[in-house]
Symmetry: D2
Subunit: 354 residues, 4 copies
Amino acid sequence: MATIRVGILGATGAVGQRFLQLLEHHPYFVVTALAASDRSQGKPYKDACPWRLPGDVPPAVAGLVVRAPEPPLDCDVVFSSLPADVAGPLEARFAAAGYPLVSNSSSHRMDDGVPLLVPEVNPDHLALLGEPQRRKGGPGKGFIVTNPNCSTVMIALALAPLAREFGVEAVVATTLQALSGAGYPGVASLDITDNVVPFIANEEEKIERETRKILGRLNGKVSGVAPAGFAVSAQCHRVNVVDGHMAAVRVKLSRAAEPADLRAAFASFTGPPQELRLPSAPERPILVRDEPDRPQPRLDRDAGRGMSITVGRIARDDVLGHRFVALSHNTIRGAAGAAILNAELLLARGYLGS
Amino acid sequence: MATIRVGILGATGAVGQRFLQLLEHHPYFVVTALAASDRSQGKPYKDACPWRLPGDVPPAVAGLVVRAPEPPLDCDVVFSSLPADVAGPLEARFAAAGYPLVSNSSSHRMDDGVPLLVPEVNPDHLALLGEPQRRKGGPGKGFIVTNPNCSTVMIALALAPLAREFGVEAVVATTLQALSGAGYPGVASLDITDNVVPFIANEEEKIERETRKILGRLNGKVSGVAPAGFAVSAQCHRVNVVDGHMAAVRVKLSRAAEPADLRAAFASFTGPPQELRLPSAPERPILVRDEPDRPQPRLDRDAGRGMSITVGRIARDDVLGHRFVALSHNTIRGAAGAAILNAELLLARGYLGS
Amino acid sequence: MATIRVGILGATGAVGQRFLQLLEHHPYFVVTALAASDRSQGKPYKDACPWRLPGDVPPAVAGLVVRAPEPPLDCDVVFSSLPADVAGPLEARFAAAGYPLVSNSSSHRMDDGVPLLVPEVNPDHLALLGEPQRRKGGPGKGFIVTNPNCSTVMIALALAPLAREFGVEAVVATTLQALSGAGYPGVASLDITDNVVPFIANEEEKIERETRKILGRLNGKVSGVAPAGFAVSAQCHRVNVVDGHMAAVRVKLSRAAEPADLRAAFASFTGPPQELRLPSAPERPILVRDEPDRPQPRLDRDAGRGMSITVGRIARDDVLGHRFVALSHNTIRGAAGAAILNAELLLARGYLGS
Amino acid sequence: MATIRVGILGATGAVGQRFLQLLEHHPYFVVTALAASDRSQGKPYKDACPWRLPGDVPPAVAGLVVRAPEPPLDCDVVFSSLPADVAGPLEARFAAAGYPLVSNSSSHRMDDGVPLLVPEVNPDHLALLGEPQRRKGGPGKGFIVTNPNCSTVMIALALAPLAREFGVEAVVATTLQALSGAGYPGVASLDITDNVVPFIANEEEKIERETRKILGRLNGKVSGVAPAGFAVSAQCHRVNVVDGHMAAVRVKLSRAAEPADLRAAFASFTGPPQELRLPSAPERPILVRDEPDRPQPRLDRDAGRGMSITVGRIARDDVLGHRFVALSHNTIRGAAGAAILNAELLLARGYLGS
């Protein structure tokens, strides 16, 4: 398969660095352009920002000069992790200029016509883009595909098999989110050492609405998705963990089910990424652990190379009916890895490449 | 007022040390006996265990020799924070021997005839003990009064004004609990650094059943409390915080209410400890903070000298109707301070002293 | 004694907030003016920045409007914790305008004619200011007095009795420094969670040169201090602790001594603040702990209301001769409290007030 | 090459689990026997203890039944990470029974005739074992080879090129050590959260004496090593880091040298493991980083798959002459990986196998 040239917007941020790490040995995607909205423009990447992940900056990108996040960029597809305050118009400009843009930013997630994609959950939402061939080649043919908020992706993944097999009527999710979700420098150490912060700006709203779009149905119009009919309640907390978002979830199902039925639904869940053996797809999107004290961020975040979520503590709940705990690597399955998997599906479905 | 002589069971543990710290300058209670179930028996307290709170062991108890936790002890009232695996029969022996016993342990909380007391919430449950005078003096006249689990006390305190003013139909509580709640040595640092543990043994069950007993009604029988009729769902997590339990709570109320109505109910709530100006009573049992990112353990746990809980983030909830976040110092209002306040109410109501 | 009106430069920072907390109930000093170099100018203090210490902003300053850090300010003495990049010229302007300025910033510490003061250690260095009466009143009579870097103050305090009784020939200090030493937002949580950073900008240099000035001698010239003759080696690390700097110190003494001799010298050390019973002076500047695992930041930082340093692990050292570990509250004895104690000594010596 | 069958003593501990993880895909060594001194004896390993590293217990050992740590064991070589209080006699029994025993425990490190081995530093110390062929086969032919304390190994590695090229006259090392160094459960979270503990039992003594043995010379007698002639001073601290020991080191050299000379000596250092391309040998034993804020535990501990140490902040020192900071993964290069590398060298030199 021919190589696809990738440009990264927001390359100097926490998710940008994760993009570069995950793409270092990718079979199809090669990073050919880097851009950032900060003062690093014009510098070789290795001098533009300190590398803040273990190990060293991938040698292949160390010398790439950081550009302004504006078209044109020397690439076939654009991955964006621009900050929310600038992503909206900049991403739109790339799409307007004909680039396929795969975004981790929140700006366009709820837009009509923009898929909010979890490849195992709602691959049919790609139909919002129209026929692949319409998207091939040049100006006016760009598009935007988004991945969800870092907590939403695991909640949506966990709900997907339940919605399919039992129906979902209400969801109550309480999150304990990692520091890397706030980017860098992000959370001040004085705010989180020996502490918890019960607030993440806009996070509860994002989880509540994005979950319903992901699990919603195409409504027949070219541009639209009818959100799922169930209510979602989210309360979000920042905790003193480097990587790995956790969610304590209660769910009201439409049909009676035993905890063992939920377990089976989680464990057997797969989707097109598994069928297509996409390079970043984990063997199983949802791992179930039966120990009473799992999942845990430090022990489970890297499962499936950070692309599997882990579910545990499946039990009856006196108020909602059932409950469980989910965990996901927030900058891999919750951000950079999610976008890469989206791009891999786009490639497999014919939306990328010539 | 005459001095009441206090014996502490479990004096070498984390809650035991907090008892000693809080009682150091108490106007009525003076510690005259220390006991523990561990190998410290026979040693002066200062040599029996390292003092693990900031500062030094209170001089007045440093020389007291640690005894076995069995009657007789040289005291008028016994405070117990014995480990759950030994508390049950040992506490019962003290009560049988005629001692008033105020316990922080879980063994007898759900027993018929034993008040599970939060002085601002259910002071009427003291009627389970019968008339005060029946309890005065000597063998056969001892009794047990318990305080709730360290998370339950804040949930019950927060629910009390809501139950009173709006009625409660269902409660969903998700906790983020501090390390000191597990005692010492308690949680291994390797289990909690850069991590969260979504499991605390028996904790979810305790919250679910104790909350309903505290907010239940005397059922006319001498020995009984009919639990409150609402369902409670608890999911519990250990987080990397020294002191201060947090709970994210959703509540379904019986009557329509605005968030501002809940706020007013919280902020105006008081009870007998405030009316009686009990020494350990905070001016306000529930403080409300309006900043979007409060309460926080490190900033709010010491409010009201650790005896006020702090509530924030009061809002509508799409699934249950309303939600908020509560925070409490788990070894003060959640343990030693709770027991001391219980004892202060017992004294004021005539159950202690000659 | 008449009240002294205090202005705070840098009032919205971490040390600024500590100033306000420590001065809330001060017997002589009352805060009448607040200034900051940031965008908070023009706002009442309570709206200018979130209060980041436990509890609430002191009510007496909540309504004070934050000014620009330039003269005139409505006060008799100025306390400064301005950031190093702006402190130099701004502080000089206040001194030139006739204000006594007590600074926690590093800009002027090494200036000729500026005392770098630890009241128990080098009170004689106040002679650099000339006669007190020369400093009384109005333009041209202002001056600057500085306190040391937050690590240096504890190293200098610990060395003072050793220098006095045994002579000091070389000092090797390795620090483990708390997060609050970097101000707010300061250290990013992603940089310090599950981590240590072996670098604090300019810190090693400050410790090496400030220690020698503090322990140096007035050299007969009006403006000068001859630095102490011993070499100092400092290696500095940031660790994941909220408050409390620790230093592992080896020292080469001029005369033979047993560890017990060092212990006695530490424990008996006092100075003018103790003799004058200055309000912020701890009963003992140096507390000695004999447990093998002390001092510890969380247990010992608040000793003497944060104004005592704690020394432990006094032992022989195969390379330098002796060693010990010292600990100090870095924003109290190491910053705001140090400046306040300096001001109290200035007042007692006649340099403040009319 | 034929497979060597390995038995692990202390298999359920923190270092034991690291042994199993590192040996999972080893080219020569296959784990055939597990033993532990705790109550796990008689259980299949997967039920004997929770797996506390990320991921899952290696499938090949999950079913092995845990034995008592006594001969005979079904293996060709024994790796030991038994607790210090039981290791001494148990390890001696294995050696007496003819087993080659490679130990991470401290009991026999200072014994005459027992190599304290760092393969890049003192491979010649294997001569203490006599001729390899004397060691081949059966009763009376067993031996013990030890690796150093987890901090000592990095100090010795860093000193080795300096000793070789410049001579070493004195060493002052101050450590900041990770939690995993204390095993499991090890350090209580209440002791280390928001805290530092300036004490690790026996650690300072171990570093001071082991470093001198490793860098000492065979003294001509069959059984002996003359310790290096320089003095070593160690002060040790436990910090809130999961993995990765750091040491701030000052060194007095015998010959004049520029920091750049030290840098070159570190970076070019190699030994037999590199020449022999031993499977666990890192390409470079010492990595040098030039950023001002490196090494850091979280970013550098996994360098060289945990087998490289990282050195940074090389500079002049006013007291000792030179200084630097070193970092090493304490359970890989500092424990299990060290023992495995030792065994690989033993195999290459003919001491293992038939």
